[in-house]
Amino acid sequence: MLTTRLVLLVLPLLLAGAVFSTAGPRSALLLLVGVGFGLVLEGLRFGFAGPWRLAVTERDGRGVIAQLVAIGLTALIAIPLLDFAPGELAGAHAPIGLAMIGGAFVFGAAMQIVMGCGSGTLVNAGSGNLAGAVALVGFIIGSFAGTLHLDWWTSLGSLPVLTIQDLAGSNGGLAATLAGLLAIAVIFFRRSDPGKRLPPGRLWVAAVLLAVLAVLNLVIAGQPWGIVYGLGLWGAKAAQAGGMDVAANVFWSNPTNTGRLNQSVLTDFTSLTNFGIVVGALVAMRWRPVLAKQVTNFAASGWASIVIAGLLLGYSARLAFGCNVGAFFSGISTGSLHGWVWFAAAFAGSFYGIRLRPILLRLAESRQAIGRAA
């Protein structure tokens, strides 16, 4: 076990060293930040999809409240930083629109079906969950497909980019953000059963660590933590390698995106933290003395549902200008109003996803049991 743990300690450093020598110090640092995210999310069992489900089905708001704490702590540093260095740092600011709202709704439903959001799918795959690995493939293809149609979807109608700093200034915007998060936390607190209201110590630690890592991401990369862009880029690069003229598409002909497409993936910040999350989750999973069981005994229709839900996760996240990380966590913590709308729409979608999951993901065993009973 000691040897295994030594290898696990060295693995991220070796990978960071390789990235450093290939792409420079910023890329190596971002890989390590991603490893930190993966360690915290898997090691301390901090998630997004699961707590949303528990809040609805078990009247257990502890996980959601921990998410709101993490976002609030990040905002406490990120919003003043954006005001201090507007030429060097950018927020996760996106427009509210019809496709954005619809995308968030579908994302919320799909993440309950695969039991993994943007970060959760990476963590699940990295920690050896077969359903997570399958969903990740769908997520990559879906987020790339979303980029191909994004201009059409956004043309259906959207507002200009609105930030809370534009409406209330930096200090006022920070105060409004914290007040909004507190108000939602109070709602979840009051709706939860006694004993399921205050997060346990593990989630408080995770919330603080996630906030520290999110601020580091902003300070190092110049932009907030994100997931979806990197996954869409991987799909675009695979399609381009397969002969598709990706750069002819409106989205990929944008100079920023063309640059990412033609440069090494090790220069893309969200890709680097995504790689790191997978590595961190793997390390946290293997660090435990006993491996968790593989709980993916689904019927064939269940696997088909996971693939389709993975595709929908990626496609809808692209239309929604981010997932639970890029839109919800980073959007709200850097002042984008689309983050709040994303949360409302995704939570509503999640409500339906919770009901769809047992219908779509039937276990092979239960089908056999039904067959035997008949």
Binding site: P95, A125, G128, G226, N254, N262, S264, V265, R286
Partner: protein, 58 residues
């Protein structure tokens, strides 16, 4: 009869290996990174405008 599924180690290391293979293939097919053009280690205080891409961007 329950169908056999690979255990977590197989899936986790399979995922990692797939990503490493993807990165190797991508780096091999991309222009080499000029260290003199590489961004400063940290964006804050670098004087450089944020040039990355993010899912919130159109």
């Amino acid at each position: 009869m329950t169908p056999a599924h690979p255990n977590r180690l197989v899936v986790a290391f399979g995922t990692l290996l797939a990503l490493v293979a993807f990165v190797f293939a991508d780096v091999a097919g991309s222009p080499a990174i000029d260290p003199f053009q590489a961004p400063a280690p940290v964006a804050l205080g670098s004087g450089q405008a944020p040039g990355g891409a993010h899912c919130s961007q159109l």
